[in-house]
């Protein structure tokens, strides 16, 4: 009964939103949403991105970099040491045939990747290079490589401390490892920190995992069919998301999950084609990336500006240290939690080092960023962004870069963006839901309440402007990293113990390959 009441309330509120929007002038709705949104979230954004005293360097970026560096050294460069073993695990070389039918390492990796590969790789990179110049790419790659160690740590803990229920389902993630792990180690404050993470995770799922996606999907659709109000896209998207997460219409999610990897491969293939077409410029592009990384090449804020943008967009794209992947990976039933950590460290590599770098290279070599031929420095507009060839930014910039070589590509990209946005939303609705049920308890009504809030934010995200949405999305996702990385510092000795034990058993031959083929 209560469930029906909530659904009817949600439908009524959506209809009233629709009616009130008709009564108002079309553009003013978007504007009102945008202003209200900026007003409501501005303080939070300012707090998260507050610069270190006397500099323009946001403390949160340093927080992530220090975290990734600590994990990299603490685990002895695990991301380079163990990558071959990670690939063997994904291939199933170490999978027990008796576990066939359970979630495989490959499936866990693919699911987590479908939540991260998406607009961050397409629109986020465009934002990074248009503000931070080509040099941002260098810092992005570095952040991606370091982030592999953060991901390894959090995903191992995600599996180790997940909750398994009597009915066979599982719930895991930072909120569970922080509360259980702290208790186990006798560290106080675990419950508070876990609760804080859960709150930020809900905000992150509504921000980066939802509004940013809806916003950029709308931008992409309107660039193809012509400008129209964002709330229309918002309502259509909200209804489809509603059908999947509330209505349980699996077919939509299933179709998306099957097309998304294909679109991802197509995107990488198209980028490779463009790079090969301009092979003579690749050397120059890398020169721009390296020189830009340390000089800034005229961009606002110099090399620090490039570094901030690179690190910010890498973290936003691969989510290493954020804790979201730990939720996705905890569904795997493995006797060795460390194997899940080893598999997950491939994500920042695929997402950032491979896919993001390709986007950046395409934007650079197709000459989208305008520079002064005399000095070689980039021309920066009043908004602090490099003036682009056709004045576009975000996903439109990536689209322009691809279309300058492959004229039909914007249509493919539009489909890809919409599908990526959709699959990321579905993934994040799950992450947000797990945080929500952690705070408010498992149950049909609690779940439904969150799902409806999630759908309403789709509409807001599509109607608001890119600026405030991207700020809030970044802030919410980075806030998750605050709680998560504190947790990881306290719990990393547990991961180290697991790693040492696993590696010695692997070396002694106690852990063997299975003959699955």
């Amino acid at each position: 009964m209560q469930t029906k009441k909530i659904i009817s309330c949600a439908i009524i509120s959506l209809i009233s939103l629709f009616q009130s929007s008709i009564a108002l002038a079309e553009s003013s709705i978007d504007q009102t949403v945008n202003e209200a949104f900026s007003w409501a979230t501005g303080w939070f954004v300012n707090l998260i991105f507050a610069p270190l005293p006397g500099t323009s360097f946001p403390w949160i970026v340093l927080w992530l970099v220090v975290g990734a560096t600590v994990f990299t050294f603490y685990f002895g460069f695990i991301q380079f040491r163990a990558i071959r073993h990670s690939i063997a695990l994904v291939k199933g070389d170490y999978s027990d045939p008796n576990d066939a039918g359970e979630v495989s390492h490959f499936q866990a990796l693919a699911t987590a990747l479908s939540g991260t590969v998406g607009l961050g790789n397409i629109a986020g990179v465009a934002v990074a290079v248009s503000i931070g110049g080509p040099g941002a790419t260098f810092w992005m790659i570095l952040a991606g490589l370091m982030g592999m160690a953060s991901k390894f740590t959090e995903c191992t803990l995600g599996v180790k401390y997940r909750n398994e229920y009597a009915d066979g389902t599982v719930s895991g993630g930072p909120m569970y490892y922080i509360s259980k792990g702290f208790k186990e180690r006798g560290v106080p404050g675990g419950k508070f920190l876990a609760g804080l993470f859960a709150v930020f995770c809900i905000l992150g799922s509504l921000g980066g995992g939802n509004m940013f996606q809806a916003n950029q999907a709308h931008a992409q659709i309107s660039s193809i069919v012509g400008a129209y109000p964002g709330w229309i896209t918002g309502i259509i998207f909200a209804l489809i998301v509603f059908a999947v997460i509330v209505g349980g219409i699996k077919s939509i999610a299933n179709v998306t999950e099957k097309i998304v990897p294909f679109m991802g491969l197509l995107y990488v293939a198209a980028a490779l084609v463009i790079i090969l077409m301009n092979i003579d410029k690749v050397g120059w592009a890398f020169e721009q990336i390296f020189v830009g990384a340390f000089t800034g090449l005229g961009i606002a804020g110099g090399f620090v500006g490039a570094l901030i943008q690179g690190f910010k967009r890498a973290a936003f794209s691969n989510e290493a240290g954020v804790g979201s992947a730990a939720i996705a990976h905890s569904a795997v039933r493995t006797k060795e939690p460390i194997t899940e950590g080893l598999v997950s460290l491939l994500e920042p590599f695929i997402d950032t080092v491979v896919i993001c770098t390709m986007t950046a290279l395409v934007i650079i070599i197709t000459g989208q960023l305008t520079s002064d031929p005399a000095t070689g420095l980039y021309l920066v507009g009043e908004n602090g962004r490099i003036i682009t060839a056709d004045g576009s930014s975000g996903v439109a910039l990536t689209s322009a870069a691809f279309s300058s070589a492959l004229s039909w590509f914007p249509y493919v990209l539009a489909v890809a963006v919409v599908l990526f946005a959709f699959s990321t939303m579905i993934s994040w609705s799950y992450y947000g839901l797990k945080a929500w049920t952690y705070l408010f308890g498992e149950g049909k009504t609690t779940e439904l309440t969150f799902k409806i809030i999630f759908c309403i934010f789709v509409v807001i995200g599509a109607a608001a402007n890119l600026g405030p949405v991207i700020d809030f999305s970044d802030a919410a996702i980075f806030a998750m990293a605050v709680a998560n990385i504190i947790g990881l510092y306290f719990l990393m000795p547990i991961v180290k113990k697991e790693l040492t034990s696993y590696m010695s058993r692997l070396k002694s031959g106690e852990i063997k390959k299975f003959d699955n083929h």
Binding site: G101, E102, V103, F106, A328, S427, Y430
Partner: protein, 145 residues
């Protein structure tokens, strides 16, 4: 030494035909055990949502339970009451690969499957379990018409 015969069941009419043939052979051989295998088609390389992953263990248990109750248990009961020695199991994976690996591990004499009556475009496009098994098996395979 007991002779083992592997029979691929799928809960449909062709499976029953394969079983009938196995019973005939078993009588002829004498000291023989029939191993019933029901395979749930599954690939470790498919794509799933996070929610599906979280539910996977539960679903797997349900799938095994349903297949055991509906296909394996009735078939075993019938075989046992007819005086045959038989075992049964439900496994996940690629049907042709699993049948072959079970046969190899159990040192079975042969695998018995029945050809499904489906033909035409779908069969040509996707191939069939039978065809794949015949091409790749490392023990003799009998395909019942």
């Amino acid at each position: 030494m007991t002779t083992k015969l592997i029979v691929g069941l799928d809960g449909s009419e062709p499976g029953d035909r394969a079983l009938e043939h196995a019973k005939c052979l078993s009588k002829l051989i004498g000291n023989c055990t029939i191993e019933l295998v029901y395979i749930i088609e599954w690939s470790p390389y498919s794509f799933q949502t996070a929610e599906e992953n979280a539910m996977r263990h539960k679903r797997r248990d349900q799938e095994i339970k349903t297949a055991t109750e509906r296909v394996i248990a009735p078939a075993l009961a019938a075989l046992n009451s007819d005086g045959f020695s038989a075992n049964g199991r439900v496994l996940h994976g690629d049907a042709a690969e699993i049948l072959n690996s079970v046969a190899t591990k159990d040192k079975a004499e042969q695998i018995i499957v029945a050809r499904s009556k489906e033909s035409g475009f779908a069969a040509k496009l996707f191939g069939s379990v039978t065809a794949k098994l015949v091409m790749s098996a490392s023990v003799p395979v009998t395909v019942v018409n």
